[in-house]
């Protein structure tokens, strides 16, 4: 059970959260302007990286808020968590722990 740092509530156990998939995939402002392929990219294609991954979590059994996190998908250690709307933090040095 991971420990996840909710930007509002602090460190909490994983079972209070739900995972929300890859972060920073904004819904297009005008979906009708997109080609089928562009829409499929938005809807389905994912980076799925082996390494640091920006992803969404929701503290559903806590404050209820969605937020973003950067996690190393190999070690499962979080590098950072941050509020929605904030940019993905620059993590030039990788000290995931």
């Amino acid at each position: 059970m991971l420990i996840i740092s909710c930007p509002w509530c602090g460190e909490r156990p994983e079972i209070e959260f739900v995972y929300g998939g890859e972060a920073h995939i904004a819904r297009p402002a005008d979906p009708s302007a997109l080609s089928d392929q562009e829409w499929a990219d938005f809807l389905y294609n994912r980076t799925n990286p082996k390494g640091t991954h920006a992803e969404r979590w929701r503290h559903i059994h806590g404050c209820g808020r969605f937020f973003n996190a950067v996690r190393d998908t190999v070690s499962d250690f979080f590098v950072a968590t941050y509020k929605p709307g904030e940019p993905r933090p620059d993590l030039s040095q990788d000290d995931a722990k």
């Binding site: 059970m1 420990i3 739900v18 929701r58 559903i60 070690s75």
Partner: protein, 1006 residues
């Protein structure tokens, strides 16, 4: 009741507390403080089990959790039977009843032992090479035979009546292992303000301190020092947990502990759990898990009476039990000497010490020689004899790596020591990197990943003095790291502490692999994995067959896959592979250590999640009434819903027909409280609804209801429900019962992450409102006498409207709508008053023959009207148009969730499945839900299928069966005949419009 091998004094058993126990039906005596293993040994019982494959007779190998042989069944009563327990860990209690396993008819005369004769034909992986002919024989003949032979104990056959509980715990420092390193670490951490937990798998804390008769710490005998240290820890508030195995190291310093609470008690109280699962979140972990003595791999090293040397010493010093009268020691280091000397002092004759080393030096060999023991350097055991107990060995000198002439030596026990293997299991589970230490010939903890540190023998710091010093240092560091950033320590300041230790250390010599024996290697049975009967030649065969990775060797030979998880076998297997391939051990690598450290009861994972506590049983406020009325319930997600309300003697069919008739002709009452409800409030509420639903909401007037459809972003129908607009900025949304949580999460997701600028907020009100559906032509009359401030007339309250007021004295949001297609209302009242209002309505309805009905009737009534149920007509692959909901899609809306996806090729295919009605030729035949539809029932397999029946009922209203179906190009097939092929023949059906009753909606317009 002392057994014949019990020493007259000594040990930590309570000789004032004799106990009687049974093994394979024979009654023996032991003492409190014994394990089943020590007590049997004291009675001279060495034969304790049979091996997995060859059914060879086996005795104890060890004294701890690494025991591969002595697995027994312990039975408290018919339902409390536990297989595969290690006799070395079973604590004796009065009346303990144990039995050996994997033998028939008896342990001494086991028919399965015939396998041993066929052993030459059963090498590693033999089953992959045969049993393939004739076809089908594997399933019919070979596999059942193999399965019956395999397996050790028998699975229990009755449900386990014992309780298991689970606890979460948090601490600053968790110390795993209460040997000298762990005790010292706990002492160091306890000297700070840190919250400390110290756990050990054994019944008594102390580890090697419990078997160190000659050692002193701070001038006190080891056991006395231990008692003082434990008292100090207790006084400092350290949580001490004996009988607790740290079995799993999970991410982010979550350690799983299994605490055995009652297995050692003769009469456990009914309120105590048998075991507890502790999920401990530790700031820092100190691993003080010690080291395991390694067996030596030599021919016939598996006979009863052949033990690990230090285990034999533990039996003597802790339990006062001699492993035999005349011992041969086979050793690769000093440990064998220590055992020899302790045993000699305990009255055991030492026939010889065979030492693999050419020139054993140091204090231990010197002391052995001084004691007159026959010490033989460069000597190996090349074979043993004895049937159910070892009665002799052959010793031979080794020259240039080859064993010379054999010399027989009589003995009744052989004690072996291949050196020590640090217990790095938990470190490895934590994903720490292991590092090969050439000097020690061992893998040691290297780079850590989690916040942990190892101390003592588990990182190669052998010996009492080193373990204490290393442990204390680790404890100090752990506490400091855990408290960093916290308030400064409130108790004493951290200060290093030195321990004055007087003990003779046993060095670090050891051996990995198979010892030379000079016999034909193809036929000598030198066991590496005792339980799984893997021999050195099996491992070399695997390498010869191309299995070069250690994981391949493990899987092909099954070495290390027994219930001891390779504790005794892994390193020797590695050594043999290394020699066979001519590759160094570190280049071959290690198999992965996986949880659990030792086998862990299923029950503690399940905990108290059983029966009604397996999942919450959700009931509505009206549940009690339905129960009293004799309703039959069905599970719908977590809820229990009334399915129907049978009168005396009625089956479901009759009850549902009666209930349906009541709603169509009079009035029915239905508990719809499980419907999901969400209050959508804020200035931008309508805009939000526009984006989430396919429908347009801007023009919906307050006081009106509308049926809403919601899509997933991929265009498929996700949920539906009626929505009421209570005010310009307030919507009362309903969802399906099963969809409530999903819909709210879906809405929150879009609101929080895509449209945070909208001034709108969502609140779940599912459980705020009890919902009482009052349906039927007489529903208005029933409610009229109960409502205050609401005009129920058609003009004031047409279909699909909502009014606020009071009913039966309680505030209500009264919806006029019908899922049955009749004049009808849904009465929303605060849940606390749900039962009272229900009863009031029922009372008011009695003159009208009001009839309670359940979900089955609700389903029939809606099907007559062609109303879909999301999850029944739809299956996650239907778009709105497919289920005739195209009208609910706002054509002029620029965007809503899912809209773009509807514009993809698949949604324009002419053969999309569409909702239609079906009428069987024979009106009495009710189709089976899930049955398939075909055009040609005579077509060959695979028969092209056109769709399936989604709902099918006998309609009392229509006096015939009806069905709904999803059919390819369904709307264009209306008027045609299709077929439903059933195993007993095809049923012809006419495809019709899915609205069977009151298509024009006249009954709603009253």
């Amino acid at each position: 009741m002392s057994g014949s091998f019990r020493t007259p004094s000594g040990g930590r058993i309570d000789r004032a507390a004799p106990l009687a126990f049974r093994f394979d039906g024979t009654t023996y005596g032991g003492y409190a403080g014994d394990t089943l293993a020590s007590a049997l040994l004291a009675n001279g019982v060495h034969l304790l089990g049979r091996s997995f494959k060859y059914h060879r007779p086996r005795g104890l190998l060890s004294a701890g959790s690494d025991e591969p042989n002595a697995l027994v069944e312990v039975k408290r009563d018919a339902a409390r039977v536990t297989p595969n327990l290690r006799a070395t860990q079973v604590e004796l209690y009065e009346g303990l009843d144990a039995a050996s396993q994997n033998r028939w008819p008896s342990l001494a005369r086991d028919a399965g032992a015939v396998n041993d004769l066929f052993a030459p034909f059963l090498p590693a992986g033999f089953y992959y090479k045969t049993f393939m002919w004739p076809a089908g024989a594997w399933k019919r003949f070979y596999e059942p035979k193999i399965r019956a032979m395999a397996g050790l104990g028998k699975a229990p056959t009755l449900p386990d009546p014992d309780r298991y509980t689970q606890n979460y715990a948090h601490c600053d420092v968790l110390v795993i292992g209460a040997g000298p390193a762990g005790i010292a670490a706990a002492l160091a951490a306890a000297a700070t303000s840190a919250r400390v937990i110290l756990v050990d798998e054994q019944a008594e804390l102390g580890g090697s301190l419990l078997a160190a008769p000659d050692a002193t710490v701070d001038t006190k005998p080891a056991t006395e020092w231990l008692a003082d240290a434990l008292a100090e820890l207790t006084a400092a508030g350290v949580v001490l947990m004996p009988r607790t195995t740290a079995f799993g190291y999970f991410p982010h310093n979550m350690i799983a502990l299994a605490e055995r609470v009652t297995d050692h008690l003769a009469a456990p109280g009914p309120d105590l759990p048998r075991e507890r699962l502790w999920q401990v979140r530790a700031g820092e972990v100190v691993l003080a898990t010690g080291a395991l003595e390694r067996p030596l791999v030599f021919p016939e090293n598996d006979r009863p009476g052949i033990l690990l040397a230090d285990s034999a010493r533990i039996y003597l010093t802790r339990y006062g039990v001699k492993p035999g009268e005349r011992a041969v020691i086979f050793t690769a280091g000093d440990s064998g000497y220590r055992t020899a000397l302790d045993l000699a002092a305990g009255g055991v004759a030492i026939a010889a010490i065979a030492d693999l080393r050419a020139a054993p030096e140091g204090e231990w060999p010197a002391r052995a020689l001084a004691a007159g023991i026959d010490v033989r350097p460069s000597t190996v055991v090349t074979g043993t004899s004895g049937r159910l107990r070892v009665n002799g060995v052959h010793l031979a000198k080794v020259k240039n790596g080859k064993a010379g002439l054999n010399e027989p030596v009589a003995c009744d026990t052989v004690l072996m020591s291949g050196g020590w293997t640090p217990s790095v299991h938990l470190f490895s589970q934590s994903r720490g990197k292991l590092a090969w230490d050439e000097t020690l010939g061992a893998y040691l903890p290297g780079q850590s990943v989690e916040r942990e540190r190892s101390a003592g023998a588990c990182r190669g710091r052998y010996g009492l003095a080193a373990a204490l010093a290393d442990g204390y240092h680790a404890g100090e560091e752990a506490a400091a790291a855990a408290l960093k950033g916290a308030k400064s320590p409130t108790r004493s300041t951290v200060a290093s502490r030195a321990f004055g230790v007087v003990a003779t250390e046993t060095g670090t010599d050891g051996f990995i692999g198979a010892t030379p024996h000079g016999r034909n290697p193809a036929f000598a049975k030198a066991f590496v994995d005792w339980q799984n009967d893997v021999t050195a030649k099996d491992i070399t065969l695997a390498t010869r067959e191309g299995f070069r990775s250690i994981e391949h060797v493990k899987r092909y030979t099954t070495t290390g896959m027994a219930t001891d998880q390779g504790k005794t076998s892994n390193m020797n297997a590695l050594g043999i592979v290394s020699e066979a391939l001519g590759t160094s051990v570190p280049k071959i690598g290690l198999t992965t250590f996986r949880p659990p450290f030792t086998p862990t009861t299923f029950g503690i994972f399940a905990g108290i999640a059983r029966g009604d506590l397996f999942d919450p049983v959700r009931v509505t406020p009206i549940h009690g009434w339905a129960e009293a009325r004799g309703a039959v319930f069905e599970p719908v997600s977590l809820w229990k819903r009334a399915l129907y309300f049978p009168n005396r003697g009625e089956d479901m069919h009759a009850a549902v027909a009666r209930e349906c008739k009541a709603v169509r002709t009079g009035v029915g009452i239905f508990d719809a409280s499980t419907l999901g409800k969400i209050e959508v409030v804020g200035a931008d509420a309508a805009e939000f609804m526009n984006r989430i639903y396919t429908n347009a909401w801007t023009k919906l007037a307050p006081g009106r209801l509308r049926y809403g459809v919601m899509l997933r972003e991929d265009g498929f129908v996700m949920d539906d429900g009626v929505v009421g607009r209570l005010a310009p900025d307030r919507f009362h949304v309903t969802t399906t019962t099963g969809g409530a949580a999903r819909v709210l999460a879906h809405m929150e997701d879009y609101l929080q992450t895509e449209w945070p600028d909208l001034d709108v907020w969502l609140t779940s009100t599912t459980e705020q409102w009890a919902v009482i559906a009052v349906q039927g032509p007489k529903s208005r009359e029933v409610l009229a006498s109960l409502v205050e401030g609401i005009d129920l007339s058609k003009g004031a309250m047409p279909n699909m409207s909502v009014a606020e007021g009071r009913i039966a004295g309680v505030p209500t949001r009264l919806f006029r709508l019908s899922f049955a297609g009749e004049l009808g209302f849904e009465v929303n009242v605060p849940a606390a008053h749900g039962r009272a209002v229900w009863e009031a309505i029922f009372k008011a309805g009695e003159p009208f023959g009001i009839t309670p009905y359940g979900t089955e009737t609700m389903h029939v009534l809606r099907a007559e009207k062609g109303y879909i149920i999301v999850g029944q007509e739809t299956d996650g692959t239907a778009g709105p148009d497919d289920v005739n909901l195209g009208w609910a899609v706002g054509k002029n809306k620029k965007d809503f969730v899912g809209k773009r996806s509807l514009n993809r090729a698949a949604f324009f295919m002419p053969d999309r499945k569409q909702l239609v009605g079906l009428l069987t030729r024979d009106p009495k035949v009710v189709l089976e839900e899930g049955a398939q539809l075909v055009a040609d029932p005579g077509a060959a397999v695979p028969v092209p299928m056109l769709g399936h029946v989604t709902s099918a009922y006998m309609s009392a209203t229509l006096g015939r069966s009806i069905a709904l179906a999803m059919v390819k190009g369904g709307r264009s097939r209306i008027g045609r005949t299709l077929h439903v092929p059933m195993p007993k023949g095809a049923i012809a059906v006419g495809v019709v419009d899915p609205v069977f009753y009151d298509a024009e909606g006249a009954r709603l317009d009253v």
